[in-house]
């Protein structure tokens, strides 16, 4: 069902909520996923953020855990 990816809602959270989510998740097992370009990442990123540029995301989904909280920016 390819249409699902277009209509599945994603929750938006602000930086305080994202910080709180990391604090409250056991082992801080939250991925901060940076989907910008490598140059933008190098210019400034959240500490420990994983870089997967948006254009590569569909080919690299296996690098992410399906049950793991993922905060995208």
């Amino acid at each position: 069902m390819k249409w699902m990816q277009f209509f599945t809602p994603v929750t938006s959270i602000n930086w305080q909520e994202a910080h709180q989510l990391a604090e409250e998740t056991p082992g801080r097992d939250v991925v901060f996923l940076d989907v910008r370009q490598p140059k933008e990442y190098a210019h400034g990123h959240l500490p420990g953020a994983k870089l997967i540029p948006l254009g590569d995301l569909d080919k690299r989904l296996d690098e992410l855990g399906k049950e793991q909280p993922i905060v995208i920016y």
Binding site: V10, I13, A42, H45, L46, L51
Partner: protein, 195 residues
């Protein structure tokens, strides 16, 4: 895209990184990772961390030697001394892991080469942060940025490690860095209140 592919806990960060009001790190995804191999043991990871703390202390001491203003000298001295506490914490972690009764001095003999905390060289830090050495807040801001770089490096090293135990130890060292950041941030807040 992710939510439609079976990822159940996906959140969009409102406002992106521009809205992030906490510390950020700079550099490419592999910056500083040459210091860590994917296969190293948890003990080896602590040794690398210790070397980075030694490097940062040396950096602060070299900055102290280059400044003439007494209060800035004292501040760099204080930051350098804090690194001794960080080093001792890593030796404690090593003792807990191995059961050895090694002192910090004995431990330091294991280090091949001190690195710079956060994985950047001293020159790279100085190029990044053009600070006014007469401003204590700017010096403290640089110290905070260095700690954020260190947090970033340990988290990325944990992510790349193939050894589960090493991954856990690197995450533990990252937690130490978080507490350094929290302490330094609250000290900066106090200083700002005074000005």
């Amino acid at each position: 895209m992710l939510a439609g592919k079976g990822f159940s806990k996906v959140y969009n960060l409102t406002g992106g990184i521009k809205a992030w009001n906490k510390e950020v790190a700079v550099g490419a995804e592999d910056t500083g990772l040459h210091l860590f191999s994917r296969e190293e043991s948890p003990e080896e990871a602590v040794v690398v961390g210790f070397g980075l703390e030694v490097g940062l202390r040396e950096f602060y001491l070299s900055m102290q030697a280059q400044t003439s203003r007494e209060s800035t000298k004292a501040l760099f001295g204080k930051l350098a001394d804090i690194e001794i506490l960080h080093q001792e914490r890593l030796v404690e972690l090593y003792r807990d892991m191995t059961g050895s009764a090694m002192t910090a001095t004995e431990f330091s003999k294991k280090i091949v080469e001190p690195g710079m905390e956060g994985g950047l060289s001293t020159e790279e830090y100085l190029q990044l942060y053009h600070i006014d050495y007469d401003s204590e807040l700017e010096v403290l801001g640089m110290a905070l940025a260095i700690e954020a770089q260190a947090l970033d490096l340990y988290l990325r090293a944990a992510e790349q490690s193939d050894n589960h135990q090493t991954k856990k130890v690197l995450q533990q060292i990252a937690d130490e860095e978080r507490s350094h950041i929290a302490r330094l941030s609250s000290y900066i807040d106090q200083q700002q209140d005074l000005t």
